[in-house]
Symmetry: D3
Subunit: 177 residues, 6 copies
């Protein structure tokens, strides 16, 4: 890869959205689909910043929605590239929701989106590697391999028995080993 | 659970969308976040139909985007509840994209969204069980347990060693067994 | 016409929409204009499916709005081509509105939209004929002639005295006959 | 009716819209459904002005689309109430489309929408009569009866043989008279 | 300038908007940013009409928001070019907000937007001069010079001491003169 | 004022937007009105953060648009409160536009918006003072007085001869002094 490496922090993007009536369900809570739409935009911009390329969404990892975000809340999304693999990158997204006049703030969601950098004809193109600096960046860089294997297994593009990194999650040590 | 069971097919919902300019990126392809927004709406309606309740998105399983969907394409999303667990349900979504004048049709994506049925105060409430009828419905009903364990493990709400159903995926038979 | 005929059912399209705040007036009812916007999209896709061509809206027949559809309702629109005339087609649209948690369902509206199939330069182009199969399809196929004459009379493109099919509606039997 | 009458011109409303990318189909022409959405809004405001009430759309007469309106065009819609019938009113809408830098202007469409004035509980309520002044206003006031009968016949709420005003259109003079 | 002059009234544009839920803040009042968006569109169309050219927004003068406009209100914006300077024009916008069923009407805002006429490559191009006719048009024509100097001073493109027209505002007569 | 003071930096908000087709004019450039809409949202959130109150837009200072921002560009807006006056606050907004794949970045715009903090009944309420720390914050804090006087003079709520701070701009030293 001829591209020089870039620091993780160079891809940091912050996006702020106000929850408007059309974003909410009949309980006046933000719909999950709208939040994923925002996650996709903020992480695509982060992937663009890292790669200086047009990017397309390749996959979204499991996202869980544990807190209701309400009409009028301010939603802040931050995204940063964790690791690059040839032409693809994983982006980590954190979502914070605030009821500012009410003085409430919740760490609402975390998610991982993966993007592929493409040239003008839409063909994948190699991108710079990521240099993690902080402890969190290093932890995310290391665990990116594991998440990537899980994605490949779930997409049936890797056999589970070849997913060495996943063994650490699923404790597949032989019982009589 | 006092609710009587319902057939899977009773929750079938079909949604059709036309890809408009604001749904696309600079390559004129549908953005992944917009597609997930549509997936969330169609599956929420399906979950409403099964439960006859207001529902909230609980989680989205890994989704991969392998085909570009283009400006002017017609996108058809179908959703059907696969299985219920107390107050939550899993919904299976299939996405087909067509360039009708061009005579092209691709089976674009599959996804699983999970919803929780709530009462007017937002508290979870029990829902009917699902009766699968077709082979596909039965296969999705059975495998729903496995996907549920993976969700719980990924959300750190179940220990990997307790996820019995997952063993079948990750071939955790002891080498020297 | 060199195009082979197609069955009416091949053009069936189902679209599902959730009534959101911006779709409603100050009484929290769906605005008629938004519903017609949805009718136009679902019937345009149906006309595309029949003709495998780009289509443009040619006319809308009288639509009446007799039931209020409310915020949070699920609106299901189905569209099917009834009959083709050279390069134009008539599409029949049925609208059902449901308050799913409330267990209410109304057959809200019926409408007829007409489309013209065009080539890439925007010129009209011949399309396949429609083969009706069910009783409803046959009835709609037959009555399409009458609706077409009414459209032509109202657009001042046919003289009322030449509109033979309309006589059956307006009972123009001679008083001294 | 206790309401005092009002002049037709008191209900005049002008609305101007710019055709944006999301309003257009793949030929870059304004979609018919979007235009009807705008027609509904401008005529609802006109009906509000005449009645000083909340209004709901009751019906739309046959609309034909004979000219393509293009991306970037300026669309001017004017609406004016033609006649009142107890709690309902008919509104006449004229649409002009302009390509201003290109120096082109077309009289694109005419349409009639009918609205019902309602009180806060949604019940129909009587409204002022219309006083037509100009020749066009008088012609529209007179012909409103005819259009109303056609609407009632098409909605199957009036028998064709009772629609006296329609006889003038459909020339139902007896053949052997 | 080879272009023949045009009357101010030839650029008059009226735009009517209904305040919908997504246009409002948590107090159900129209957001200032949405109103400015509408002001920009109505005045751009007015500038197009005067110049028969594509136009781009060059600047917005100080706007103050003194009255709350509420959900369901009808907002009427009128725009008219006041004066041209080579390739740029100043447009005057007046905003009226009405609660029609409530019988309330407020003259809500006034604003001045400036546009530059450009050719297809985006280069500024000369436009016709404005001929003011009414007293208000003449007053706005005269005072346009003063507003232009203030704009240039604020943009640091004119030295305050060269802004002769502004002296009349800021009473810069020498104390010992 | 019983409220304790807050640092300027506590109100910092960053918002990132992608320029989509519907945000652009026929030259594919971002419309000024859309940019002002975004400026209003980011600065309203900043004012909320400083005051912990619901806020309403009071005024916008002169904004000039000197660079075209294009379709597909990433627009980053940052906002920070500069100074408080009883119940009102001034917010400074900086806009940067980037064509990331093209490696271009422009400092596009600066603007000042003013907001009033209100209680639930919409009445103005006192807010904390601002403590500037950096050189830029201090310069903006000091010059806020001057901009405030210009706003009051332009809104005809202060006589020009009382606007002492403005004299420094308009060099009103007597010629024969």
């Amino acid at each position: 890869m001829a591209n020089k490496s870039k620091f993780a922090k160079e891809s940091l993007v912050t996006m702020t959205e106000l929850v408007l009536p059309n974003d909410t369900n009949t309980l006046n809570n933000l719909m999950g689909g709208r939040l994923m739409h925002w996650m996709d935009i903020v992480s695509a911009i982060s992937a663009q910043k890292h790669s200086n390329r047009v990017v397309v969404t390749a996959s979204v990892d499991n996202v869980s929605f544990t807190h209701a975000i309400q009409l009028g809340n301010v939603v802040t999304l931050t995204a940063k590239v964790t690791r690059a693999f040839s032409s693809s990158m994983e982006v980590f997204i954190e979502v914070i929701a605030e009821d500012i006049p009410g003085g409430k703030r919740i760490e609402s969601n975390q998610a991982f989106f993966t993007f592929v950098a493409v040239d003008q004809s839409g063909k994948p193109i190699d991108i710079p590697e990521v240099i993690p600096e902080t402890d969190q960046e290093k932890e995310l860089f290391d665990s990116a391999l594991r998440r990537r294997q899980l994605r490949l297994v779930l997409a049936k593009r890797m056999k589970p028995e070849d997913a060495n990194e996943l063994r650490s999650i699923f404790k597949t040590t032989p019982i009589n080993g």
